[in-house]
């Protein structure tokens, strides 16, 4: 315990906590957590990025709070304590979004509230924050939030590009003159099923590159 305290702030081990969830241990494609609220917000890039940042903040700070309190939380009531901490963070994020980016907050509708029951957060609290120090837990939370956000942004990128021909609302395909060659927007990409299929394809690509993940 005591020699851990002398670790530099960004030691190799701590950096690994940040980078693992982006690849080999991605919360969505490998741990299968937090798909619930993820896919409905990926029609456009902007709400997807706002959602990704919100989740990152909530996972990071709720991990930090729970890790600091971990010695005082009785084991039997830990779930309800965790829920209260998460709900507080989500209320803060929600009020912030309503105040500063109201239009995005309207688009996200109930999905901001659903961050509370996002399994990534509960999962990381249970698996990591309850047993580790505040700083590594914070990094773990940020890393997992980022891994989740990464998938969200990839899915949103393809859906917006193929479905509406825009990126952040900027008409990319039109400027490139793609439409003149006879291409038309793929209406299916903006419908919900496409999000599932894109995630399925991402998993396929990831697992063919990293055979050790097969069968998990």
């Amino acid at each position: 315990m005591s020699n851990q305290e002398k670790e530099p702030v960004f030691s190799a081990k701590n950096l690994k906590l940040l980078s693992e969830p982006l690849g080999r241990n991605n919360p969505i494609t490998v741990q299968v957590l937090g798909i619930c609220s993820a896919l409905a917000v990926t029609v456009k890039l902007k709400p997807a990025i706002v959602m990704a940042l919100s989740v990152m903040i909530v996972t990071g700070f709720s991990n930090l709070v729970i890790a600091s309190l971990r010695k005082f939380i009785p084991d039997r009531i830990r779930i309800i304590v965790q829920l209260v901490v998460i709900a507080t963070m989500v209320i803060l994020v929600d009020q912030f979004l309503k105040a500063y980016v109201f239009d995005v907050s309207k688009q996200l509708s109930v999905f901001v509230g659903l961050i509370i029951t996002n399994c990534i957060i509960m999962g990381r609290l249970e698996a990591f924050a309850m047993a580790n120090k505040p700083w590594p837990s914070f990094l773990d939370g940020i890393g997992n939030g980022a891994g989740y956000g990464m998938i969200l942004v990839i899915v949103a990128f393809f859906r917006e590009l193929l479905g509406s021909g825009t990126l952040f609302g900027y008409p990319v395909l039109e400027k490139l003159g793609i439409y003149k060659t006879g291409y038309e927007n793929n209406g299916m990409a903006i419908l919900p099923p496409m999000a599932l299929i894109i995630v399925g394809l991402i998993i396929w690509v990831q697992r063919s590159r990293d055979k050790s993940l097969i069968g998990k």
Partner: protein, 205 residues
């Protein structure tokens, strides 16, 4: 009456929790390996939804909305507690699942044994909180409408999970490419099922 039927059919097919909103996906992916357990979880979800949605409707109406506390006296007419919605809803859901678990254990041990492990899991199932939040957003008029919406959403969720479980049981005998096995193919299958369910879009009675 027509209105109620409309809400019911809509919440099962058109606005299906899984295929239209991806709610409850975590347990949907984790517990859909066999039809029997999928059925158990599905029934538990219906059970909890039918209780929590109307309950949260009442909480919203008499506690959280602007002016909802007027029954306490004139001076409370301006109180707006709606920023507490998430916290109160999730607390009620957690408490209700606990209560439902105890009641079922007491009065129907057989049902308890088949649902047992799933009931506590349900507190953190997004479909449950999602249904309450949708109920709030869509502003249903009375408890009955909210209850019917809860029932319909639950049945829709059950349909989806039993469907995918049946497909996955058969899938064991198929020759899926290795990297796509398990999770990948389940996502793509869910996508295809969602496309099928989109055929119901626009139905209203």
């Amino acid at each position: 009456m027509e209105n109620l039927l409309n809400i019911f059919v809509k919440s099962i097919f058109v606005e299906n929790m899984i295929f239209a909103f991806f709610l409850g996906m975590c347990s949907y992916l984790a517990v859909s390996k066999s039809v029997k357990t999928a059925m158990g979880l599905g029934i538990a979800v219906i059970f909890v939804l039918v209780i929590t949605v109307p309950l949260n409707f009442l909480v919203e109406k008499y506690l959280l909305k602007k002016g909802a506390l007027i029954w306490l006296g004139e001076s409370f007419a301006d109180v707006d507690l709606s920023f507490l919605t998430f916290m109160i809803f999730i607390a009620f859901i957690a408490a209700m699942t606990q209560l439902v678990e105890m009641v079922v254990e007491k009065f129907s041990p057989a049902l308890y044994n088949s649902l047992g492990i799933f009931l506590p899991l349900i507190a953190v199932n997004c479909a449950i909180l999602g249904a309450s939040l949708f109920m709030q957003e869509r502003e249903y008029e009375n408890v009955l409408e909210a209850g019917i919406f809860g029932l319909g959403s639950g049945i829709g969720w059950l349909l989806a999970i039993v469907g995918i479980a049946a497909i996955r049981e058969k899938l064991k005998y198929s020759n899926v490419p290795d990297p796509l096995k398990g999770l990948g193919i389940t996502f793509i299958l869910t996508g295809l099922m969602a496309i099928a369910f989109m055929g119901f879009m626009g139905i209203s009675l």
